[in-house]
Amino acid sequence: MTLAKHLGIAILAGLVLLALSSKLDSFRQYQLAQVAATVIAVAGLTVLIGISGQISIGHGAFMFVGGYSTALLVMHLNWPLALVIVASGVVAGVAGAIMGVAAARLRGPYLAGATLMLAVALPAVAFQWQGVFGGDQGLNFTVSTPGFLGANFQLTEWQAWVCCVCALIALVLLANLLRSRVGRNWRALRDNDTAAALAGLNVARLRVSAFIVSAACAGVAGSLLAVTMLNVTPGAFTLALSIQLLTAVVLGGLGSLAGAIWGGIILVLVPPFLTNFAASHGVSAGSASVPIVGYGLVLIVVMLVFPTGIQGGVRRLLGLARPTATGQASAIGRRWQLAWKPAGSNSAVGNAADNSAGSAAAGTQIAASEAATKDGVAEEGTR
């Protein structure tokens, strides 16, 4: 039933995007492809952070793995595109499994540090083996539009299609996963890992599985970005990218797949918009930092106006406030703050979060998430 609903929404969205993509000019199609690819990475990360309660400051590294896998597979083996994208996701998933095994032993700032190291270290691989990875200038490759679309079909439109289709498939799969026992177990792990372990859940395995799913998403996103840009360079997968993904997760709404869409849109579209805005108002000459400052302001304003992320804000504005959705992000946010503070300083932080998001909603959420925990536990118990 859930699957049918998610599929229906995805097919509808796909038809809208199909109609839209043919109306856009080439550059907008290119941006649409970028947005779709980014959404997959953000969605994967929001599952990891918002649902399984782990953090990664190094997700750009998994995109690096996916992107370079794609370039190498296209250049040397010339596999069909669909196979290349899936294979890139699998390779990144394996990388995620390795990271996940380490991550299962680490928590909070230690986990953040370990993933940070990954983001800093991995792009250096491209410099170490320049013959394979092309060093600083990376790898250029080409993809072509399939023959049945005709010779004059725009490559950018084809790229937009590929990325949008992959994004929709990824979102449907993730949405179903989150509604399944796996998703409920991740939530149980997030809310209280001791309780989850006591209830018989294999905490380490759950942590690793969340990392695998999240890394595979990042790998597919990296693959699609490579297919869109037709090159991969170490510069595309800097630490800044990893931090931006994290920003997009929080901006969109922690733990919300719809929020991931908002996050992807902001990440791709806001910086060039600000650059063009600055240029058309004559401030670009000599002050190239204006767009960067503007981006920072957007982040601050969004966080002040929508403390539960854009998706939470949209729901509130539309009066769609469902406790399970609105309260979720704030409850997670509070838990994160709790986890990062010494035990004695909990109360003040907790109160602040409650006041900003509405304590009633948060209170309902705790009940809801505990119900989810019991749900997961009950299912595990029947095994």
């Binding site: 090159n231 000599g286 767009p291």
Partner: protein
């Protein structure tokens, strides 16, 4: 960073009067009939829009962020003096932060959304290599890449792309030829960037310098996590080799670190540097910034540094320097007139040369054809190599030594080719003076 080389604003009033007079005779030599039409993407009856990607912020920004504003200053000068056949040049340069992935997106915006007539002076070897295939697939002219990589000369795969500055192989050969003649029997070491830039340079050096004289080759990684530590280790190796001459193919940051490391190790070889790492103002400023010193500290560390240059020497009475000083003082007086500004003004001039040659109502192919059929020497000290099968730019340079904050030439202009066997010869033709109108 201390940039003391600011020019006064005083001459502007006088120069403004001169330029008014010049405006009257400005583009009279290009007068011809026929209505101006929108002949190509980016060309309207009134404007020609061109685009570029430049590091306005980020690691490569110090110094290089002056180049595009300087080119734009020259275009404004042209626009104020009749334009190109009456059309004004609109120069849209986007900040790619010297990051290839941003270059990729920026170039797509310029071509697919802004519909620029041509790409101009896109800066950087790795950044531009990432976009050259796309630019050529879109058949957009890609003129005068701001990089001396020999790779832009690939007419069969990239017919739209043209280099401009003397490439690193030629620079290496000219430096190598000077070293072979002037440092006979001395021990020589190479300090170079471990990518296209440094490797091309070493290739040229090796063509001229006997291998028996070379005692050490120390490549550095431009992406090193701790550049100062990396350069320190390499400098110790250079000192241990006993090299009396160190030849550097290094970007300004690493050139400055090399000098500081040598200072701290008490090692004082003769330094010979490619033009990339030898702009006196830039290096002196970086030395002061890195050592947290001020005043003449940086300047004193680069005295006697031997280098080459493919543009007239700043501070000389050369007519090109006079013209560019005038334009600089009028349009971008706030940026000091250093090697980067000179570069930007010069490459802007060369582009306007090509635009005029492309005709009144140019198509993109007309612009490419115009350069393919060769360009007059103009601001370059050596002739251009341009033909339909050769997209290298300048063919030579002159050797020079740094005195105070200027380059003093050490001899006549030398020209050569890219091949291992091609000789380095003296160019006997004198550089033509700048046109009095300032417009090609």
């Amino acid at each position: 960073m201390n940039r003391s080389h600011r020019l006064g604003l005083a001459p502007i009033a006088g120069l403004a009067a001169v330029s008014l007079v010049l405006a009257a005779c400005g583009s009279s030599n290009h007068a011809s009939s026929g209505a101006l039409q929108a002949s190509a993407p980016g060309v309207t009856a009134k404007t020609i829009t061109i685009g570029s990607t430049q590091p306005l912020t980020g690691i490569a920004a110090p110094g290089y962020d002056e180049i595009a504003p300087a080119s734009n200053a020259y275009f404004q000068y042209v626009n104020a003096h009749g334009g190109v056949y009456g059309r004004k040049i609109v120069y849209k340069y986007l900040n790619d932060q010297y990051n290839s992935s941003m270059t990729t997106t920026d170039v797509r915006q310029l071509i697919l959304q802004d519909h620029v007539f041509a790409l101009f002076n896109g800066l950087g070897t790795p950044t531009h290599l990432a976009v050259a295939p796309f630019i050529n697939a879109e058949k957009v002219p890609d003129l005068f890449v701001a990089s001396g990589c020999a790779c832009w000369n690939a007419t069969s795969s990239w017919p739209e792309t043209f280099g401009w500055q003397t490439n690193y192989i030629r620079e290496g050969k000219i430096l190598g030829s000077y070293i072979a003649a002037n440092f006979k029997g001395k021990k020589i070491a190479y300090f170079y960037q471990d990518d296209e830039f440094g490797l091309d340079g070493v290739k040229g050096l090796s063509d001229e310098i006997p291998a028996s004289q070379v005692v050490a080759k120390e490549p550095y990684n431009v992406a090193a996590a701790n550049p100062a530590a990396e350069v320190g280790t390499l400098t110790a190796a250079l000192k241990a080799s006993g090299a009396q001459v160190v030849v550097a193919f290094a970007v300004p940051d690493f050139m400055a670190l090399l000098r500081l490391s040598e200072l701290s190790l008490g090692y004082n070889p003769t330094i010979v540097s490619s033009s990339v790492g030898s702009d006196p103002q830039t290096i002196a400023g970086l030395l002061n910034a890195f050592a947290k010193k001020s005043g003449s500290f940086g300047t004193s560390l680069i005295q006697g540094l031997i280098t080459d240059s493919y543009l007239p020497s700043l501070g000389s009475s050369n007519s090109w320097i006079q013209l560019f000083t005038k334009i600089h003082n009028q349009y971008i007086p706030k940026v000091p007139l250093d090697g980067n500004v000179l570069y930007g003004l010069s490459v802007g001039y060369t582009f306007v040369q090509a635009l005029f040659k492309a005709g009144r109502n140019p198509t993109r192919q007309d612009l490419v054809n115009a350069v393919n059929s060769g360009l007059p020497q103009g601001v370059s000290v050596a002739p251009y190599a341009y033909t339909s099968t050769d997209h290298d730019g300048m063919t030579g340079a002159y050797m020079a030594v740094i005195k105070q904050l200027a380059l003093t030439p050490l001899g006549p202009v030398q020209v050569t080719d890219n091949t291992a066997t091609g000789a380095v010869t003296t160019d006997s033709t004198a550089q033509p003076p700048a046109p009095t109108s300032g417009i090609p």
